[in-house]
């Protein structure tokens, strides 16, 4: 089966401190029997990319309240949030709205 190739980006400010200062991650997700949805992507991110203090980015199986998720520049609420099935070359952007303004 096709290996989904995704680009995960983080909006500068705060969140990238959790990811070793890296703003843009181009990731190739390994093939697996379960489909790659946002839920699984987050699990994968937690295991492979989050360097410290995962609770600042994630809460339970979702992102921490206050962190927005955009899939291909659209609100993830329009795409089914955690259930959205990732497609090849999808762009996932995380924006933190905490401590700002």
């Amino acid at each position: 089966e096709l290996l989904p190739l995704s680009v995960c980006k983080w909006k500068p400010g705060g969140a990238e401190l959790l990811f070793d200062g890296v703003k843009k991650h181009q990731v190739t997700l390994p093939s697996q029997p379960e489909p790659w949805d946002i839920r699984n992507l987050l699990k994968w991110i937690k295991q492979n990319l989050l360097k410290e203090r995962p609770e600042l980015f994630m809460q339970g199986e979702s992102v921490r309240p206050g962190i927005l998720v955009l899939i291909n520049d659209a609100d993830w609420e329009l795409m089914g949030e955690l259930d959205y099935k990732l497609q090849d070359q999808d762009n996932v952007l995380f924006i933190s709205t905490l401590h700002g303004g």
Partner: protein
Amino acid sequence: MCEAAGRCGGCGEAPVRRRAVPACSHPQPCVKCGDGPAAVVIRIGDAFCRSCFREYFVHKFRAMLGKNRVIFPGEKVLLALSGGMASSAMLRQVQEGLSRETAKRLRFVPGLIYIDEGAVCGQSLVQREQTLTRMEALLQETGFPYYLASLEQALELPGSVLRRGPGGNSEPSPSYKEAVEGFIQQQRQEEASGDGGTSPTGLSTQDGPTGDSHACLPTAALTEELLRLFDAAETLTAKEELLQMLRSHLLLHTARTQGYTKVMTGESCTRVAIKLLTNLALGRGAFLAVDTGFVDSRHGDVTVVRPMRDYTAKEIAFYNHFFGVPTIITPPLHAKRREKTSIHRLMENFLLGLQVDFPSTISTVYRTGEKLSVAPAEANSELQRCLLCLCALDIAGEEELALEPTLVKEETGNGAESRAAFIPLLCYSCRLTFKEMGPPDTLPPYVRTEAQRRNCRALMKQQIQEFLLEDDEEEPGGS
């Protein structure tokens, strides 16, 4: 289940729980124009495309200013920018609003101010310099006059910053409509006589509060003094309050000395809702309207205005992303590992967490807050306003305060500079914050000076009390 719970805010029914939108590969059409693909969900069920969202966003700003009519044409307005998302979006709206060629153009004269708070946010000198340089470039791009200040400068403020300036009630001011008509007429005359006049966007002078325009850091000694002040605060909550206090005093001082009668700050709807509940927990229930309302006139001559208070943090984030609004995010107030969290952060986590499952939480809190109104004009005498927050002193029966005995015990008492000397000058919540701050000698000089001044006057008044004629209009004990 009440479907409209998100909008009616409190009809007694159970709040609407979020129902996940089923994943679908076809993009939804915009609910407004039905044409473009929806890009963002504003409220429950409202999915807008980019252009409808932009229209909605821009319109909201102008409607907010138009509805409230407190900013007069030609008035100098200082925009407080933190580099964060909300204040950056605010700046963009002002730029857009001023640049329109129609009669609906915004008409005030903006200035920008950025306060470098890097010292208390754990930034190194190098980081602070980098941030300042980037920020200055951003401000210069706008063409508006700008000021770069550092939080350290709050330590050099005069005691007068804690005194209410002359309010607008002394002279009869023209009505808003008259002011707009007068302004338009004046502009027509200027155009007719060939005088170009000054367009708000043409100003390019840059001054700092002390006259310098370049990004430069304060002296190490001043930074040290500031850090000492913050380190002496025992809790993160007290630090947050201290930071807000110094920031607001510095903004006020800059506005006063540079001739600005209005200050715009970028609190979003999300921030306002959090502030409402936080301030309630801090004992500021009596001042919620002033602390979070659109207009804050506690200072008298300078009015603080909050034009972003109707935008959620999400709307602002999406707008900035879609339309390339530059932001410079700096770390928040530095908290040591051993410190517990602050009431501010606790409340933020609580509200945002609740919002996930109940998407009308923030808007309900916000709308309830909108029903609060400012108390009628209080007594003008400075003896009846809190030294730190300038709100009316809300302490009637001081004997009821459990705080008092504990505070008096701690002091060996050297009279004027003891903690006890400050207490009668503070409102209830400022007393609580004060209790968690360091010894009085760590406080900024302007606070100590003004406190001394007021205590002297109070003492004087007491001594000549029997010779004073009774003022019949004055209510005993103030409002």
